[in-house]
C-alpha cells in the first residue's frame, strides 16, 4: 500500500491492547434496596415510582404503586409514611415528601379514572375475604389480579373498615375512600355489605369457597375500671369516631372534654371533639409527650388546633364533675411511677382511647385449627392460620397496627393463597443489600428543601371536618419527585460513562443503562466512587 508523503510506518490502534488484564477488582452494576422501600410495610417500590414520576410519567408511576398497593390516594393521606423516616435525603437537607407525591398520583388516577388491567386468566377458584378494611381490600385486589374470584364480606353498611369508621374525614375525605373502593369493586370483586359472618366453615361450604382471608381487625375498645359517680359522661373513642361517621345521634359531649390515651386514636378523638364544638379539649397520658405512640405531626396539628396535653397523668376516679388524675414520674427504665400527687380536671366528658382488642368471640375463634394467643390470631410467615384454608392479616394478627401494615398483609397473603390454590410454592424475591447514605456520592445533588403541602387555616380546622392537608400541584409534585436521590438504583446520570479514564463503560441508550467493557476496564474504581446513588459495587476478581 502506498503511504502518504513522509509517512513510512504503519500504525495500529491501541484497541489491540486489552488492558482488562491489569484488573484485580471489577465494577459491577447493582440494584440495591433503597431504605424507603425497606421501610414500606406495603412493600412499595418507592424509588421506582418516583423515577417514573420525575419524568412526568405519572401513569407509569401510578401503575408501579398499584403493583403493591391498591390505595395510593388513601395511603398518601393516612399512611404514617415510615418510608420518610428512613429517607437518606434527611441527612442531606430534608426527607423527600414521598406521601405527598403518592397522594398526588392517587388523586390524579381518580380524576382520570385510571384502571388496572387483569392480565392473568381466571383460575376458577373462589376466595372469601372477611372484612373490607385495608387488609381485606388489599387481599381482594391482589387475589383478583392473580385471577381468582373474590367475594368480600363486610358487617358494616359501607366498605372501608377502620379507614371509614376510625379515620376522621379531615384526614381522609370519603370521596377519596369511595373512589378507591369503587375501583376495586369494578375489577370484579363482589361486595356483600351488611353481612357479618358468624360461621366461616358453614359459609365456605354453602357458597363453595376454596379459601378464606380474614381481616376483621381489632374493634373492641380496651376497658379499664375507673370508679365513677357518673357525673362525667364516659365513651370509647372508637365508638365516638364511628358515630360521627354514621352521623348517628351522639350524646352532647359538652364544652370540656378529656381524652385518656396517647395513641393516634386518642389524637383523632381529640381533634374530632374540637370539630364537634368542645371548647376545652385535653389529652391525659400516663407517660411523657415524647413517649406518646401517636405520630408527632398529628400531635403537633392537634396542639395547633387547641388541644392541651396533660402528660404523666393517670386517671384515678371520676367524682362531682371532676376527673381525678395522679401525677406520674418516669423511672430510669421509662416506666411511669405514681407520685401520690392528685389533681382535678373539670370535665363534661371523658373519652377512653386505650387501644383496641381483637374480639375473642369472633368468627375465627371456633374454627378448627385456628390458634388465638393473647387476643391475637396466630399466623405463620405465609399469613396462614393453623387451618390451611384460612389465612388472616391486619390488626387481627400480632403486628404494628397501621393501615399500611394491613395492606402489606393483604398482598402477602394473596401471594401465598395463590400458591396454595395453584399448588405451587410462593418464593418471595431475595432482598438485595441496603443502599445506605454512606454509599452515595452526594456532591452531585444540589440543595432543595422539601415542598410543603398547603394547610387549611386554623378556624376552618376547628369548626369542621374539611381535609386539613392540601394536595401538591403538578410543579410541586414533579419538584418533590426529583428530590429523590435514587439510592442504590441507576438513574442514568452518565457519571460512570463520563468518569472512566479508559472509556470502558458503554452507554446502551435511554432506559437501557450501561455495560462495563471488561476487555479494557482496569478496575480503578472511579465509576463506583463517582456514582451518585451507589449503584456500582467493586468486587474482587477471582483467578
Amino acid at each position: 500500500m502506498s503511504k502518504p508523503f513522509a509517512i513510512t510506518l504503519d500504525t495500529g490502534s491501541s484497541l489491540v491492547n486489552l488492558t482488562g488484564s491489569w484488573r484485580s477488582k471489577r465494577p459491577v452494576f447493582a440494584d440495591h434496596m433503597p431504605p424507603c422501600n425497606i421501610a414500606c410495610p406495603a412493600g412499595e417500590n418507592i424509588q421506582q415510582w418516583l423515577y417514573h414520576a420525575e419524568e412526568g410519567n405519572y401513569h407509569l408511576a401510578w401503575q408501579e404503586i398499584m403493583k403493591h398497593n391498591p390505595l395510593p390516594a388513601i395511603m398518601g393521606r393516612a399512611c404514617y409514611h415510615t418510608c420518610e423516616g428512613e429517607c437518606n435525603r434527611a441527612k442531606l437537607d430534608e426527607t423527600v415528601g414521598i406521601h405527598a407525591v403518592e397522594r398526588f398520583l392517587g388523586d390524579l388516577a381518580i380524576d382520570n379514572n385510571w384502571r388496572v388491567k387483569i392480565t392473568v386468566p381466571r383460575s376458577g377458584k373462589k376466595v372469601m375475604v372477611i372484612g373490607s378494611g385495608p387488609g381485606g381490600l388489599s387481599a381482594a385486589y391482589h387475589l383478583t389480579l392473580l385471577g381468582h374470584a373474590v367475594t368480600l364480606f363486610e358487617a358494616a353498611p359501607k366498605a372501608g373498615g377502620l379507614m371509614r369508621y376510625g379515620i376522621p374525614r379531615y384526614r381522609l375525605p370519603r370521596k377519596v375512600l369511595n373512589a378507591e373502593v369503587d375501583r376495586i369493586e369494578r375489577m370484579g370483586v363482589e361486595f356483600k355489605l351488611n353481612t357479618p359472618v358468624r360461621d366461616i366453615v358453614g359459609v365456605m361450604e354453602d357458597e363453595g369457597f376454596d379459601v378464606v382471608f380474614a381481616a376483621i381487625g381489632a374493634q373492641l375498645p380496651r376497658q379499664i375500671d375507673i370508679p365513677t359517680d357518673d357525673s362525667v359522661h364516659m365513651y370509647d373513642a372508637i365508638h365516638m369516631l364511628r358515630s360521627i361517621e354514621l352521623e348517628e345521634e351522639f350524646p352532647d359531649i359538652g364544652d370540656k372534654v378529656v381524652i385518656y390515651g396517647g395513641g393516634n386514636v386518642a389524637v383523632d378523638a381529640a381533634r374530632s371533639a374540637v370539630r364537634l364544638g368542645a371548647k376545652e379539649v385535653s389529652i391525659v397520658y400516663r407517660r411523657s409527650r415524647d413517649k406518646m405512640p401517636a405520630h408527632s405531626f398529628e400531635i403537633k396539628e392537634a396542639v395547633e388546633e387547641g388541644v392541651e396535653l396533660n402528660c404523666l397523668r393517670v386517671v384515678r376516679k371520676v367524682e362531682n364533675g371532676n376527673i381525678q388524675v395522679e401525677q406520674m414520674v418516669l423511672t430510669d427504665t421509662n416506666k411511669p411511677f405514681p407520685t401520690g400527687q392528685m389533681e382535678n380536671i373539670k370535665a363534661d366528658t371523658l373519652i377512653l382511647a386505650l387501644g383496641q382488642l381483637v374480639d375473642a368471640d369472633c368468627c375465627l375463634s371456633s374454627v378448627p385449627g385456628v390458634g388465638v394467643l393473647q387476643g391475637n390470631v396466630q399466623v405463620d410467615k405465609a399469613m396462614c392460620t393453623g387451618n390451611e384454608k384460612i389465612f388472616a392479616g391486619g390488626d387481627l394478627v400480632p403486628c404494628e397496627r397501621t393501615i399500611t401494615v394491613a395492606v402489606g398483609h393483604g398482598k402477602k397473603a394473596a401471594h401465598y393463597i395463590d400458591a396454595y390454590l395453584r399448588e405451587t410454592e410462593y418464593q418471595p424475591k431475595p432482598k438485595s443489600p441496603t443502599a445506605t447514605y454512606e454509599k452515595l456520592n452526594t456532591w452531585y445533588f444540589s440543595d432543595a428543601p422539601k415542598t410543603v403541602q398547603p394547610i387549611l387555616n386554623l378556624i376552618r380546622r376547628q369548626s369542621g371536618f374539611e381535609e386539613v392537608l392540601g394536595n401538591l400541584d403538578e410543579d410541586n409534585a414533579l419538584f418533590e419527585a426529583r428530590r429523590c436521590l435514587s439510592c442504590g438504583n441507576c438513574f442514568e446520570c452518565d457519571n460512570c460513562y463520563g468518569a472512566c479514564p479508559d472509556n470502558a463503560i458503554d452507554k446502551l441508550g435511554s432506559g437501557k443503562r450501561f455495560k462495563v467493557n471488561y476487555d479494557y476496564c482496569k478496575g480503578c474504581g472511579l465509576c463506583a466512587t463517582e456514582c451518585p446513588c451507589g449503584a456500582i459495587d467493586i468486587v474482587n476478581e477471582t483467578i
Partner: protein
C-alpha cells in the same frame, strides 16, 4: 462560569455528567453516545489516570465544537507515552508527536500550513503536561502567545514529571514529595517560594483567552474548551489532573482529589480575556486544605502523628486563602 443549566435537577444534581431529564442538546459532550472518544481504550495510563480523563474531556469537546476538524500536536510526556507506543495509537484524530519542548512551535507551524492551504475550518491544538509546558516548552509557548498564533494550547497539570519517575517540575507545589524533592532535611519535600503560576503567566501575554479547568468540574471544562475553540488567536487552558501514582492517592479517588482542590481554593477556576479575569467559579462548600492534603501520600509527612507540621499546612492554607480572595471564590451564586 459553566454552562448555565436552566432546569435544576435536585436529584441528578445539576452536576452529574448527563441527565436523562434534559434534552440532548443541553447535556455534556461526555454524556452523548456519539462522543468522539478521541482518546480511546487500550491506552497504557495507570489505573484512575486523571490526565487520560482530562484529555478525553477536552479533546472530545474540541472535536464537537469544530465538527471534528482538529489536529493535535503533543509534547513528550505521560500523555504521549501512554497513548502511542509504536505501532499502537489511542488517538482517533490527526495527531503529531513533537519534541518535549517544541509542541507550541510545531502547532504554530501546523496552523500556518492549514492557513496556507486554505483549510480555515481545521483547528490546531497543542497539548502537553506541566513539564513540557512550564519548564521545557516554556520558551516556545511564550513565543506562540506573543505572536498570537491561532493555536489552543492545553496543559494537563499533574504537578510533576510522572512518567519518568515522579520528579519535581516548576508546577510541583511546596512540601510535595517527589523523587528529586525527598522528605529529608529542614525543608522536606518541595520548598516554598519556587515554581511558576502558568495561567497567570499566560494572562501576562494578554492573549485572547486563558482559563483554568478541572477534571472534577466537567460542565465547566467543556464550556471553556468550547468557548476557546470559537476564538481566533492564542488561547491557553490549564487543566488540573491528579496523578494517583505520583501523588500517592487512590485510583478511585482521582476525581475526588481534584474536587477537593477546588473546594479548598488551592486550584481556582477562572477565565481571563486579554489579560483580565472575566469570570470565576465560586466554591460550593469550602473545606480546609488539610482535607485535600491528607489523602495524598506526597503530603503525608505534614501529618505525622504527634508531629503535625501546622506551620507548613498554614502556609499552604494561606496560598488557598489568597486565591479565594483574589478570585472572589466565596461569592454564593452558582458553584462547582
Amino acid at each position: 462560569m459553566g454552562q448555565e443549566q436552566k432546569v435544576k435537577f435536585y436529584q441528578k444534581g445539576t452536576y452529574t455528567v448527563g441527565n436523562r431529564l434534559l434534552n440532548v442538546k443541553e447535556r455534556s459532550v461526555q454524556a452523548s453516545m456519539d462522543r468522539s472518544n478521541s482518546l480511546t481504550c487500550g491506552h497504557r495510563a495507570c489505573q484512575g489516570c486523571g490526565e487520560a480523563l482530562g484529555a478525553r474531556y477536552a479533546i472530545d469537546a474540541a472535536m464537537r465544537a469544530s465538527r471534528n476538524q482538529v489536529i493535535a500536536v503533543n509534547a513528550t510526556g505521560c500523555l504521549e507515552v501512554f497513548t502511542t507506543p509504536y505501532p499502537e495509537t489511542s488517538w482517533q484524530m490527526p495527531w503529531l508527536h513533537s519534541l518535549f519542548g517544541n509542541a507550541a512551535a510545531v502547532a504554530t507551524g501546523v496552523a500556518a500550513a492549514m492557513r496556507v492551504k486554505g483549510r480555515t475550518e481545521v483547528r490546531t491544538i497543542a497539548q502537553g503536561g506541566d513539564g513540557g509546558t512550564t519548564d521545557i516548552g516554556f520558551g516556545c509557548l511564550s513565543g506562540m502567545f506573543e505572536r498570537n498564533d491561532d493555536v489552543l494550547y492545553i496543559c494537563y497539570d499533574n504537578e510533576g514529571y510522572m512518567n519518568t519517575g515522579v520528579q519535581r517540575s516548576s508546577a510541583t507545589p511546596p512540601t510535595a514529595r517527589t523523587a528529586t524533592t525527598p522528605v529529608v532535611g529542614p525543608e522536606p519535600g518541595n520548598v516554598f517560594g519556587t515554581g511558576k503560576n502558568m495561567p497567570m503567566l499566560a494572562m501576562a501575554h494578554k492573549i485572547p483567552y486563558v482559563a483554568t479547568a478541572n477534571v472534577a468540574a466537567l460542565h465547566d471544562l467543556e464550556a471553556k474548551v468550547t468557548k476557546a475553540m470559537h476564538i481566533k488567536g492564542a488561547r491557553y487552558i490549564h487543566i488540573f489532573v491528579p496523578c494517583p501514582l505520583g501523588w500517592g492517592s487512590k485510583p478511585e479517588e482521582t476525581i475526588h482529589v481534584a474536587r477537593l482542590a477546588i473546594k479548598c481554593g488551592i486550584f481556582p477556576l477562572f477565565e481571563a480575556e486579554y489579560g483580565k479575569v472575566t469570570s470565576t467559579v465560586p466554591i460550593r462548600e469550602q473545606i480546609p486544605v488539610d482535607d485535600y492534603l491528607k489523602i495524598q501520600k506526597r503530603f503525608s509527612h505534614l501529618f505525622k502523628k504527634g508531629r503535625e507540621e501546622r506551620e507548613k499546612i498554614a502556609a499552604i492554607q494561606a496560598m488557598a486563602d489568597e486565591n479565594i480572595e483574589y478570585f472572589n471564590l466565596l461569592n454564593k451564586e452558582g458553584g462547582s
